[in-house]
Amino acid sequence: MISFVARRLLMAIPVLLGILFVTFTLARVLPGDPCRAALGERATATICDAFIQRTGLDKPILVQFYRYLGDVAQGNLGDSFRFGRPATVILIERLPVTVELALCALLFAIIVGVPLGIVSAYKHNTTVDVATMVGANAGVSMPVFWLGLMLAYLFAVLLKGTPLWLPPSGRLTSGIELPSLIEVWHLQVQGVPLAILTFVSHMNILNSLLTGNWATLWDAVKHLILPAMALGTIPMCIIARMTRSSLLEVLGLDYIRTARAKGVGEGGIVLRHGMANAMLPVVTIIGLSLGELLGGAVLTETIFGLSGVGLTLYESITARDYTIVQAFTLVIAIGFVIVNLLVDISYAYLDPRIRLS
């Protein structure tokens, strides 16, 4: 097992280097003038020259790349031209929004998708099965942004005045503010602990849970339901389909017949004996859905006005904020590689044939 993990880690190194090179190059070939994008159209040539010299944009591209690698290794992702602050600080503020959204969407996808798949497989070829699978196919085919807009219209306009009403945008009702954990707990911290606490503070649900702020918790949850549903629908449908096909395959095996012959109840057969083996491919799909969630986050965040990584990245690309584009793409890609690595390792852990091959 250790040699398998070591081999996979080694294989990830060239991919990480490649990612660094791609993000670096991408940010350099973006059209437009970074100086005027950062300092405004009226910036004079003298000001721009000083700016380019200060940020090292006048050096040869290989020198810039070398400097970039060194900076990344030290955790320095550069200063944003647009925000005038380090990219890492902005990342610590914006990433929790996306992480919270993606986790809630994934939770929604698993809680709804897995039972749907189980019911569909157990009721194979019945109306329930056909209806679920047609629904799942339709769900996979929906554009995320359209689903988001339609959900917003349904819950914010059509259901206005009913208990089912949900807010169509934002993270908290205006007027409600969630203080950071550092303020609430009167802490004096610096460096990494400060970064971690700031990160957690920006996850509204976790923050209000930790501080026992129940009214705000409910407000944050209400604001997150629609985006999470919009973002989680496609993974939910994929998980439902995968659970169904995987469980169907397992339910036809001999050991299930043996269990039935021994008098195990139907619930025990499906949940304990069937799902134990059918979960393997489902776990993989759940891991791989995270990539889908990150891509979809750009659209979901745009529609629901959530200032997470997706929206910030999209805005930074259009505003040509090189540093933010680099930093955010890098973090997303590295996160994606780590998730894939974990999926591979968990798969090898669950199925010995893989690590031995």
Binding site: P14, V15, G18, I19, V22, L26, V29, L30, P31, M133, V134, N137, A138, V140, S141, M142, P143, V144, F145, W146, L147, L149, M150, A152, Y153, A156, V157, P168, G291, E292, L294, G295, G296, V298, L299, T302, I303, L313, Y314, I317, T318, V325, T329, I332, A333, F336, V337, N340
Partner: protein, 311 residues
């Protein structure tokens, strides 16, 4: 011990038409209910696209100010559903620029089909060549090509496409190119896997022993045998390409106005979702039905072309 003598069995041999993988697959495809739904959807879409000038009552870009007495973003007016007969009929209403929305949705089918086929065509050609090269050559070539594909796969596809379009500049052609580029790795992987399994088979070894050139083995022996997974992947890939292109256009990076493209139509009216929801609803339904058609057909083809499945 004497063996029991078997009674003579008379067998009448009848001549059967030779059966090919593709003919079998087609037969199975027509027995798959969901695949038939998919084909019906796509057949309908193709008809709408071809007959767009006949079906659409107006030119998709014709502004109706001064032509008819209609208001901006007016709701659908259908005479049989009770809309007064003195008002002009607009099945899906009027858009923000006072154009007939139904005509625009109808013409949008042409753009979507074009997007689907061109991007996947591009990605399949490049992906196949790269995958075949990697699989057949092996060694360093394989390593370099596939690690590069891994790097491309390390980015969420839509994010990478957004970044590429930003570099190239917004527009439909660049959006298609971007989606094509981000789809290449999946075809390269499929092709490489097929090549790796086929190149060890006896008929390829025999060819090599007979001195057939590598290019001929690759194009005449391996490629035809590796087509099955590519066709399935391609059909499902069209669905993804249409969704991604719609997303790019929605963000203003793909098709530019006044082109009747479903994603950009949705993007242009997205702030009006609370006041004129029909302008957001119908293009979305059109995208969903198209993508659903390709998904169902793709799934059906995968089942039909997989000989391991019990039928």
């Amino acid at each position: 011990m004497q063996l029991a003598e078997a009674a003579p069995v008379s067998v009448t041999l009848t001549e059967q038409a030779p059966s090919s993988l593709w003919r079998d697959a087609l037969r199975h495809l027509f027995h798959n209910r969901l695949a038939i739904v998919g084909m019906t959807l796509l057949g309908g879409l193709l008809l709408v696209a071809i007959l767009a000038p006949v079906i659409a009552p107006y030119d998709p870009n014709q502004v109706l100010i001064g032509v008819e007495n209609v208001k901006k973003r007016a709701a659908p007016c259908i005479h049989v559903l009770g809309c007064p007969a003195d008002q002009p009929q607009h099945l899906l209403g009027i858009d923000g620029n006072v154009r007939d929305f139904f005509s625009r949705v109808v013409y949008g089918s042409r753009v979507s089909l074009f997007i689907g086929f061109t991007t996947v065509g591009f990605a399949i050609v490049i992906g196949t060549v790269l995958g075949a090269l990697a699989g057949y050559a092996g060694g360093w070539t394989d390593n370099i090509v596939m690690r590069f594909m891994d790097v491309l796969l390390a980015f969420p596809a839509l994010l990478l496409a957004i970044a590429i379009v930003t570099v190239l500049g917004p527009g439909l052609t660049n959006a298609l190119l971007a989606i094509g580029i981000v789809s290449i790795p999946s075809y390269a992987r499929v092709m490489r896997a097929s090549v790796l399994s086929i190149k060890e088979q006896d008929f390829v070894t025999a060819d090599r022993a007979l001195g057939v050139s590598s290019a001929r083995i690759l194009f005449h022996r391996i490629l035809p045998n590796a087509l099955t997974p590519l066709v399935v992947r391609g059909t499902l890939g069209i669905a993804t390409a249409i969704l991604d292109a719609a997303a790019l256009s929605f963000l203003g990076l793909g098709a530019q106005p006044p082109m009747a493209e479903w994603g950009s139509m949705l993007g242009a009216e997205r702030n009006q979702v609370f006041t004129a929801p029909h302008l957001v609803f119908f293009p979305g339904v059109a995208i969903m039905l198209t993508v659903l058609g390709f998904n169902l057909l793709g799934d059906g083809m995968r089942d039909a072309l997989d000989p391991r499945l019990n039928r």
